[in-house]
Symmetry: C2
Subunit: 386 residues, 2 copies
Amino acid sequence: MRDVAIIGIGQTKIGEHWDTDLRHLALEAILAAMTDAGVTQADALYVGNMLSGELTGQEHLGALIADFAGLRGIEAFKIEAACAAGAAALRMGYLAVASELMDIVIVVGVEKMTDVSGPDATAALAMGADSDHEVAQGLSFVAINALLMRRYMHEYGYTVQDFAPFAINAHRNGMNNPYAMFHFPVTAERFARARMICDPVSLLDSSPLCDGAAAVVLASADAARSFGAVPVRIAASAVGTDAVALHDQNDPLMLEGAALSTHRAYKQAGVGPEDIDLFELHDAFSIMAALSLEAAGFADRGKGLQLALEGEIDIQGRVPVSTMGGLKARGHPVGATGVYQAVEVVQQLRGLAGVNQVPNARLGMAQNIGGSGATVATHILERMAD
Amino acid sequence: MRDVAIIGIGQTKIGEHWDTDLRHLALEAILAAMTDAGVTQADALYVGNMLSGELTGQEHLGALIADFAGLRGIEAFKIEAACAAGAAALRMGYLAVASELMDIVIVVGVEKMTDVSGPDATAALAMGADSDHEVAQGLSFVAINALLMRRYMHEYGYTVQDFAPFAINAHRNGMNNPYAMFHFPVTAERFARARMICDPVSLLDSSPLCDGAAAVVLASADAARSFGAVPVRIAASAVGTDAVALHDQNDPLMLEGAALSTHRAYKQAGVGPEDIDLFELHDAFSIMAALSLEAAGFADRGKGLQLALEGEIDIQGRVPVSTMGGLKARGHPVGATGVYQAVEVVQQLRGLAGVNQVPNARLGMAQNIGGSGATVATHILERMAD
């Protein structure tokens, strides 16, 4: 195998894009990434997407988007892994370039969620849970996360209000990200007044239904310097899985898939949590952020929330998370999220994150979670020395 | 990169399996392939599937099936490329082993299509066409193939009855395949009387809606001999794409994606059509079989049907196709088909195809097509020397 680098990034603003469609969103991100990389062709396109069939009536996105982006003829597929589809597609692109069979690969994550009603989108999202054994009982992902949050509070003695720092941090950072969906601050008072949507999960504990696309261009690390942008090496790419149904997992409050995925990534990169300068985690719900911090080794069990309460997740903290707004404020177009995370880590490692810049960021980690922890894809990115 | 081999195969009988579900079908194929290979673990599972969300309400098949097969924790994703999803997943498995990052990879193709009505399944399948510009006009894949068949007859002077040899050959071969859906012969007379479903496409020009799963186990070619079964090397793995909408393609009667895909595969393997001992082509409709023979270089344009009329597609002919029944008689559980094709080529190369054995088969090609030629994945398999 050979080392792989990200040589270009692109993203669309996230929002309710009622004036455009899935293929145009993907196109915008791909062209931005290709322009950034300075390439006009590619050997393959891998599309991360979860629900294009259910929400827009369109499968077969690989060939469709490749052709629409002017790349007719190249290898192209869609990769699905629930909300981890974006990072799964990145993983596939990584394998393709690492294999030496592909030199330039484009990975795009895209999701168009707002062409159906909110309840219909929520029902479609539940297809990432176990349809026979969870959905049949009426569980949605909001409900699953409410169960987890309630249990976490019960086990470790936290209150609902203790979760506020995740939303406060994400929204503060999102205000400075032009691509973020939300540009308003959240205070502890506002969090306390937020509408309860599935007790104890409030609207400000939840990521929004939205549309967006993000893309990266991959090349071998050796070739990366010959392209325009500052190259970022993929120091690790790793995946772990767990049971899909929450009740089949060994311990609902321990994300074993995330622990596996992170452990594999640390091992490949030869680093530990103490070496990570920022962590784009999967804060689809506040409870997921807390559990991720624990599974990835940044906090002991039950202490992930403590880390947030102590301000250690802020830009200036020990482990900055959601540095461009996270799933909560930047938005969570599900199949696109994993690629947005990678794009944002690259922004940080290039030193181009503006007022959200993590000082001297050299090593950044992105972790994308599908379902209630059943698929977890982790990438560790490293700024290549000048 | 390193060479990759298929060290195990497994498949379920294809049919209308109302007594079981998607995960059990996948499990049966995976366990059969693992037993055949003599492995009890794997590094990754790639699932080829097109319509699990639309037809069974379940996405996130990677983690779901990995766990159900006793492989909790390993990397696992779903790959979608319309009806080429199976071979696309095989392609991904090939890249993973070739990259040297994975040693044992399982690829399973699975589709459960009969839990909804025929019209609903047909509508779901149309998501592999261009939803905005074809499906919105009422086109299904049956209709698209009827347009292609009519045009082919017009251009080259064939009659409807001239297409009979494809169905006759497929059903003759399917009768000897215990995993095939149909076990009845088709004669020219029966073909002539077949119910017209979308003129000029009759029921006997069409593959059935059905359920099934097939799996292969991959390892490096170097390691392959240490496992139980006769190893088969993947001499080539290649993909080509074209526009999804028929009206966007340069020439509807020339499968440019198939030509690209086959050309790339021939180049990688260092062979030409004259070296191929059997060709598992994508006979979802008779017209697709004729066009595939032409795009892959076995016949000049307009002469693919002639090849069939001359008996050259039979087991004893110049280019045996559908040797175990093809999509027509073995069946076409869409996302599984590409893996069934690979399994059957391996059966032939191992010399275990029974009365359907192609004499001295050394090099076999499988070609899986998504949409009306928009994604085409081609694999050339080679019996490894003793």
